[in-house]
Symmetry: C2
Subunit: 340 residues, 2 copies
Amino acid sequence: MSVERSKAARNRPTIHDVAAAAGVSRGTVSRALNGGRNVSPAALQAVLKAVRTTGYVANPAARSLVTQRAHSVAFVLTEPQQRLFEDPNFSILLQGCTQELAELDVPVLLMTASTEVERKRTSRFIAAGHVDGVLLVSSHTGNPLLEELRDSGIPVVACGKPIGHERQVAYAAADDRSGARLMVEHLRSRGRRRIATITGPPDTPGGVERLAGYRDVLGPEATQDLIAHGDYSRAGGEAAMATLLARAPDLDAVFVASDLMAAGALNVLHDSGRRVPQDVAVGGFDDSSIATSTRPALTTVRQPFQRITREMVRLLLEQIQGEPPAASILPTELVVRAST
Amino acid sequence: MSVERSKAARNRPTIHDVAAAAGVSRGTVSRALNGGRNVSPAALQAVLKAVRTTGYVANPAARSLVTQRAHSVAFVLTEPQQRLFEDPNFSILLQGCTQELAELDVPVLLMTASTEVERKRTSRFIAAGHVDGVLLVSSHTGNPLLEELRDSGIPVVACGKPIGHERQVAYAAADDRSGARLMVEHLRSRGRRRIATITGPPDTPGGVERLAGYRDVLGPEATQDLIAHGDYSRAGGEAAMATLLARAPDLDAVFVASDLMAAGALNVLHDSGRRVPQDVAVGGFDDSSIATSTRPALTTVRQPFQRITREMVRLLLEQIQGEPPAASILPTELVVRAST
DNA sequence: ACAACTACTGTGCACGTTCACAGCGCGGTT
DNA sequence: AACCGCGCTGTGAACGTGCACAGTAGTTGT
């Protein structure tokens, strides 16, 4: 009597309550709910009905405790936080991964590791077993977090090639190099002859590979005065464009390694009195939402973000299942708009 | 013997291992780690040292199971996903909340509830007890999720006044109405006499309150032809601006209820051959990163996002502690740039 | 007819932690 | 001298679930 009273007092129904309501045992309820193997149709129906009437939902903590799985995943961003809301790429990746995983009922924990303090915290947090795997968005190489994670043995998937760890950690990345080639070839086909470039930081895969693609096409034409480095920020794009104009006022095209930097470059070109695309053609990279919001709209190289997030999730789940880390390189596509 | 063997096989140290290493009992270790009350200095030192040598981190699932707390919080977005990466506001809120909570070692689960399916999933997920509270970013009123959450009894804090539930759910919001007044008064002080407005959707607090502030200042001057509704998207801002120009070609200022829409409006004004601010002054709202990236840069009303996120977190933690829901209205500030 | 197999079901244990309780020695008050 | 309170400690629950195992009934094969 008092036992039943205390049970009724607890508001959240447990698997016991469902079992009692369905007239079966805990084990049968558990089996019915996880796969439903070796369960009679009658029992299955009874359990399902009992679940409905009691409003039962499994306690995730109890489940995690016994399965030794957190059933969740972390999305870790090592870039300065500024970039999360300045550059839509990160939001798209975050959104894509979240959505992809939500369909599998896997929640995503968002963590940043921009500062030393945050990195420590994130590292400790992940080591505590809060998550089964990590989606790591960290373009800059040499971040200690990657090695810490690798050493802790937790499954990791990087977004973009993790320079120096290509063989040891899984990653999904767009084919930056051939994407850059597509763009530069397109600029040449438009009759441009003095094609400059604004690169990403030299310690990022995008910074290296897209520049390599540019050089592939231009060969010796790619002189040093036509190459300026940016930091993937709008302000960085502006500064780099100003530098290029000072060094090579006769340039007639510029391939910018990200749409956000390209938007900055457009502003500077506008201020210098040059018309786009008549005087200078501008090509971006990403095909983020920025590309269609500039005037003129940007010709750019589309990164297949949806495929990238899908692959990241797949590669992570594979590793959680015990498979070794793998990599996935995805093709890019030229999107021609008004700026070239 | 075999017992010790199996213990050694488990890679993650438990509280038992720490207790053994420190020469004390589980209870003492637990007490030493949670507050350290009623623990002798000697025992405390021994435990701390044992934690260091074993590399112990508490198992969150086990802890949650017994404390009946998830020790985590959900950030739920009900807007169409598009907006997460088009409008920087959401990223800022997300980032702010995450950061604020990270300092308290509370992870943030990111969930979307844009579609019916997602809403069901999110609802069930939260009902399962995965989180202790919900940070709800949902501008549109009438979303069933809010009521579902309220009924389930889980602590909720809304961002922006939850129309129709002001008394029942906690919220943090900027003072939209007086912010709008600031801007319209500023436009008048610049000598503008035909001041139009592009509002947010009428079922959002921002849509209602900012329009009210506009009317407060203009009174009968606020004729219907000067008011157009937008949907907080860039495209919506463009469409609304085009409508206004058709209806009132003589307008000399427009107050736009969000920076993103204002950016769209600027484009349309530019295309129509009008100069900003000489022919038409444009005022935005938010002071998001967009405001400084337009040409000309936007005069806007700054929302104190950092204070908003701080208040959201505070209000949520309060409720988790058992306090009743409260509200927090935060002051806005006029930021004058080149567009007025 | 008996054994072997199949399909299904119930029970005990373990996961790792916190909390309530009881026990212990020790100094101070009645 | 007996008692009480205090600071500290160890121990036995309990949280709710999944899994291994044993057991039952019914069916098939020799």
